[in-house]
């Protein structure tokens, strides 16, 4: 494999790992369910897709690359549905979203 593809692949893998870690970090820092969903449910598929793209560069022109491409597609089609289902279920069980005006009035600003 050429050196350029190797470096590019590792760049994607490292970037994807970075976004996945940031997503986990956001899961801890965010104040309520909906904002946490923004960190985990949306940033994670983004990071995982980047890792899979990086792995495609590592695999080169093989059938493994095609399978990884199928995985990316599957992830991009299903993750928003799961995320939406979770948020909608929370809304219907009347989990109140923490909104900005309440947040600024409760804190001393």
């Amino acid at each position: 494999m050429s050196l350029a593809a190797d470096i590019l692949g590792w760049a994607f893998i490292l970037a994807g790992s970075f976004f996945t870690v940031v997503g986990a970090f956001g899961l801890i820092r965010m104040p309520d369910l909906y904002t946490r969903l923004h960190a985990s449910g949306v940033l994670d598929p983004f990071g995982v897709s980047l890792i899979l793209i990086g792995l495609m560069f590592q695999a080169g022109f093989t059938l493994v690359t095609v399978k990884l491409a199928f995985l990316v597609l599957l992830l991009l089609f299903t993750s928003p549905v799961a995320c939406h289902a979770l948020a909608r279920a929370a809304l219907h069980r009347e989990v109140k979203p923490l909104l900005d005006d309440e947040r600024s009035s409760s804190s001393k600003r």
Binding site: F19, L37, G41, V42, L43, F46, K67, P80, H84, P97
Partner: protein, 158 residues
């Protein structure tokens, strides 16, 4: 037409996943493809404009790259906010009007909203989507209706 499209797609899927070209496995694949098409069409009755929207496949080549770039841009924005020491978020709920004609189009729009970091579609009703935005800027970006117009153009490829 939809039958042919599904047969070709499933056959390509089988060959690409197996990568083995012995007569037995190819015959098994062919049998599976026809069994799945028969089942989807006659028993589940999902081989229609919603179950297999093959008419959208060409337009996807212009819509998906645009959507991917949006995901990258807003993903970077959300990342900066999470790592910012003061966590500068301003969560809010907004109702976004939808201009799509079909259910497939509405699902494409709602999923695009959710897929873009910083906005999640909470509820899909006739003519509008309830969106939870992480920041006011994200909500204002949706209110410009750019993504709505593009999703409608994507759907109109029928």
């Amino acid at each position: 037409m939809r039958h042919v499209s599904l047969i070709v797609a499933l056959a390509a899927f089988w060959v690409l996943l197996s990568g083995v070209f012995t007569p037995f496995l190819l015959a098994a694949g062919l049998g599976s493809v026809f069994a799945v098409v028969w089942f989807a069409d006659r028993r589940m009755k999902v081989l229609d404009v919603e179950g297999h929207p093959s008419h959208l496949s060409v337009r996807a080549l212009t819509y998906w790259p645009w959507l991917l770039w949006e995901i990258v841009k807003s993903g970077w924005d959300v990342t900066k906010r999470i790592l910012h020491p003061r966590l500068p978020i301003s969560p809010c709920l907004v109702r976004v009007p939808t201009s799509q004609q079909t259910n497939v189009g509405r699902v494409i729009y709602a999923n695009s909203i959710t897929l873009t970091p910083g906005t999640i579609s909470l509820e899909l009703t006739e003519g509008e989507i309830l969106v939870h935005a992480l920041t006011r800027e994200g909500a204002e970006g949706l209110a410009t209706g750019d993504m709505d117009r593009r999703a409608t153009a994507f759907e109109a490829a029928l």
